[in-house]
């Protein structure tokens, strides 16, 4: 039983670690402002598909890891991720039946919410920055969502059919 559980959560763990890597890999500064929030995209997918195992608790823990890796305020990304994943889990049944265009629009809203929480906390803590810079990741993340979605669901079905 535990073995089966482990093999089921392995792809999730691997994709999340890959997303963490993509998040902290250094990029040239022009590309940096358009770096998509890989972790948010990955977690939205898994929270939508497996909301009982990959829910807000894990989102919070991963958020704390990002905070430490990037040196932001401890709890900032944790709070933002937790909030976004809460909404995803709450509406996961609805989101599963959405057509791609509607789902992408939802992901856009979720990413914007994520950046807004980060922006808000930065503002309260006194690290103000122009609002325009927060839109880069939202736009690139939304554009990449269909690719991320089809990649992850392809991975999921392949592994499931093999098991």
């Amino acid at each position: 039983m535990t073995n089966k559980e482990a093999s089921k959560s392995l792809p999730v763990v691997v994709t999340i670690i890959a997303a963490v890597m993509l998040t902290i890999v250094p990029l040239p500064s022009w590309a940096d402002s358009f770096r998509p929030d890989w972790i948010v995209l990955t977690l939205i997918f898994w929270a939508m598909m497996l909301p009982r195992t990959w829910s807000i608790g894990w989102a919070w823990i991963i958020g704390i890891f990002i905070d430490v890796a990037q040196g932001t305020l401890l709890g900032q990304h944790a709070l933002a991720l937790c909030f976004v994943i809460f909404i995803t889990v709450r509406f996961h049944l609805l989101m599963r039946v959405f057509p791609m265009s509607q789902l992408t629009a939802t992901v856009f809203a979720l990413l914007a919410m994520y950046q807004f929480v980060l922006f808000w906390i930065n503002g309260v803590a006194g690290f103000g920055a122009p609002t325009i810079t927060y839109w880069g990741p939202v736009i690139s993340g939304t554009l990449l969502w269909p690719i991320v979605f089809s990649f992850l669901s392809g991975l999921r079905f392949r592994l499931r059919s093999r098991a």
């Binding site: 559980e5 089921k8 670690i17 963490v20 890597m21 998040t23 902290i24 890999v25 250094p26 040239p28 500064s29 940096d32 402002s33 770096r35 598909m49 497996l50 909301p51 009982r52 195992t53 829910s55 807000i56 608790g57 919070w60 958020g63 704390i64 890891f65 430490v68 890796a69 990037q70 040196g71 932001t72 305020l73 401890l74 709890g75 900032q76 944790a78 709070l79 937790c82 909030f83 809460f86 889990v89 709450r90 996961h92 049944l93 980060l118 906390i121 930065n122 803590a125 006194g126 690290f127 103000g128 920055a129 122009p130 810079t133 880069g136 990741p137």
Partner: protein, 290 residues
């Protein structure tokens, strides 16, 4: 309970989701307040930092591999060219160094005459940048030198051309640092030409520093070199910081609008140097009269 059915069916509702999210949000806010107001969470950060370290190593590996491959695959001809270039450079530098040694000796003699404290030579250690904050206005970085190697809070970081930033938080194996271009970073500098002291503030853009406290009649020009004055205590004196790019004197304003470009290629460096001054400046008394 959680593992009963991993794939929830149509009627499934996640139990106590609202309660859990409230608890986690409360916990995050508590953590952020503790982290921001007091520095109680240093040890927590350090513990998690050790767990993050392997991921950072793996991310960094391809870059190291690429650098290594490029080094080992360069052709003999290129190596030959590089050796001759380096030899020429070394000759030039050693010629300059000779003059410097003479000047240093003279300086020490004069200082002795003035009974001033002898300047301690700074020790340096090379560090590599492992990650840069993804927030474009964050201007923070992570380097691969930590407490194990003797790094301390407030330690100055330079590259070959000038000051890059300073350490804000040390971990065991890695440290967090702040670029001089961070919007909340200010650095005491002086104009190399005439010794005029002022403060250089970060702007959030990698190629610009602001000098907001220079009066309209201050003797500054575009092209002036700014060096660290050593007055804040964190940075040793005499390292180049920036070159003034524009001086805009607005008659009705009390201060001139002066901007400068950092000498160090702040957004391009991979390797930096940590400066170990003779004494730990964090322990030095703060002087209020500057």
């Amino acid at each position: 309970m959680v593992a009963t059915r991993a794939n929830s069916s149509s009627t499934a509702r996640i139990p106590a989701l609202g309660l859990r999210v409230l608890i986690l949000i409360f916990l995050s806010i508590l953590l952020m307040v503790l982290d921001h107001r007091q520095n109680h969470l240093q040890s927590v950060r350090k513990a998690i930092g050790i767990a993050v370290y392997p991921v950072q190593i793996v991310v960094d590996a391809p870059f190291r591999l690429w650098a290594w491959a490029r080094e080992s695959l360069t052709s003999r001809n290129e190596l030959h060219l590089e050796v001759s270039r380096l030899q020429a450079e070394r000759l030039l530098l050693s010629a300059r160094l000779q003059r410097l040694t003479a000047l240093e000796a003279e300086n020490a003699r004069l200082r002795n005459l003035l009974e001033a404290r002898a300047i301690v030579r700074d020790e340096v250690r090379v560090a590599e940048i492992m990650a840069v904050d993804t927030n474009p206005y964050g201007h923070n970085l992570v380097i691969d030198v930590g407490e194990r190697d003797g790094a301390y809070n407030g330690q100055a970081i330079v590259d070959a051309d000038g000051v890059v930033g300073q350490i804000t938080e040390t971990g065991y194996l890695t440290s967090q640092a702040m670029f001089i271009t961070h919007p909340s970073h200010a650095l005491p500098v002086e104009v190399n030409r005439n010794g005029l002291r002022t403060i250089a503030k970060g702007t959030g853009a990698f190629d610009r520093l602001d000098l907001p406290f220079l009066p309209n009649n201050a003797d500054v020009r575009a092209g002036d070199l700014l060096v660290t004055s050593g007055l804040g205590g964190a940075f040793p004196a005499g390292y180049p910081v920036a070159v003034i790019t524009s001086v805009n004197r607005i008659p009705q304003e009390p201060f001139a609008d002066v901007t400068a470009t950092p000498s160090a290629a702040v957004d391009q460096v991979r390797e930096v140097m940590l400066i170990f001054t003779g004494e730990n400046p964090a322990a030095a008394p703060v002087r209020d009269d500057d």
